[in-house]
Amino acid sequence: MRFLTPLANLSTGPTGTSARRFGSSAAAGFLAVALVAGCGGDAEEQASPTGAAGETTSPSEPAATDTAPRSSAPEDGEAAPADAGAATQAPADEPEDSSEDAAVEEVVITISDFAFDVPETVAPGTEVTIRNEDRVGHTVTSDEEGLFDTLVAGGTEETFIVPEEPGEYSFYCRPHPNMIDTLVIG
């Protein structure tokens, strides 16, 4: 009888009845929570408070709305391709003047100690290097869904192409959602 003590106790008296009721309803509630968590929990998009990688419309717009980013965002979310040149600033009659030394200069976003270090401004369509000096991985993910989302493993570098449209693009790190910054393109 000793080994049945907890169950026996639960079934005695008014408090025992409520305990038994509690036990079964709590277990059922717990299972419900587990099911909800299990069904929706493991996809990467679940953890992002801004929903940047989710399928629904992005709840947060870029900081500057004067130059709304293109509606034809790339499907894979990697980066905005530079092939939509006609849509922007009339580079048509520029005869590749003197092969622009500045264009060769590397533009770098550095991640160190769980913070971004971003250049003040970046030219539209520039290839930007993301240098991750931390040991864990980070992402540079636009708040607006699908503009850019680049994963950089710890201690490595990756590149991506910034959007062609000038403006301010706020972004964050998916695994560490309080890492936020803004990329100014212009």
């Binding site: 026996a8 493991d42 996809a43 769980f114 864990v136 980070h138 560490h176």
Partner: protein, 143 residues
């Protein structure tokens, strides 16, 4: 004079403590499931961070169900162990840059964000309450 049986088999206080510990385990499980995917991105090496998070969440679910159904000393001890392991891990990797140990990857993350803070509070309080539940159980006389 009405006498009060302080050694009631299942007191309301014990039920309250049990409910709160089960709640803490539910929060623990939910947050670890939610963060698992993104943590795999940040810590892909060894046993991926996401896998560890899912294991923790699974343990919390099992401990929660066991505690809700049984309410025994063993159930409280298991719940306390699961909650304490989560609390110690989150605090350790928040403040100490622990290198990779065998298959366990380096998971140093010197920042707080909402889910992480909530998990730390829930598991810390839950572990204390599980200890209290254990003490309440010790005071009970076997029938």
């Amino acid at each position: 004079m009405r006498s009060v049986d302080y050694r009631s088999p299942t007191s309301k206080l014990e039920l309250l403590v049990r409910a709160l510990v089960v709640l803490a385990l539910a929060v623990d499980a939910l947050i670890h499931f939610r963060l698992a995917g993104n943590f795999s991105l940040a810590v892909p090496g060894g046993i991926a961070g996401g896998t560890l998070f899912r294991l923790q969440a699974g343990a919390a679910i099992l401990a929660g169900i066991f505690l809700a159904v049984r309410g025994s000393r063993g159930a409280y001890a298991l719940a306390g162990l699961v909650l304490l392991s989560a609390f110690v891990a989150v605090m350790l990797y928040r403040y100490v840059d622990v290198p990779a140990i065998g298959p366990i990857p380096a998971m140093y993350e010197p920042i707080w964000y909402f889910e992480k803070s909530l998990s730390a509070v829930a598991t810390g309080l839950g572990a204390v309450l599980a200890g209290a539940g254990l003490l309440l159980q010790r005071g009970r006389k076997p029938q």
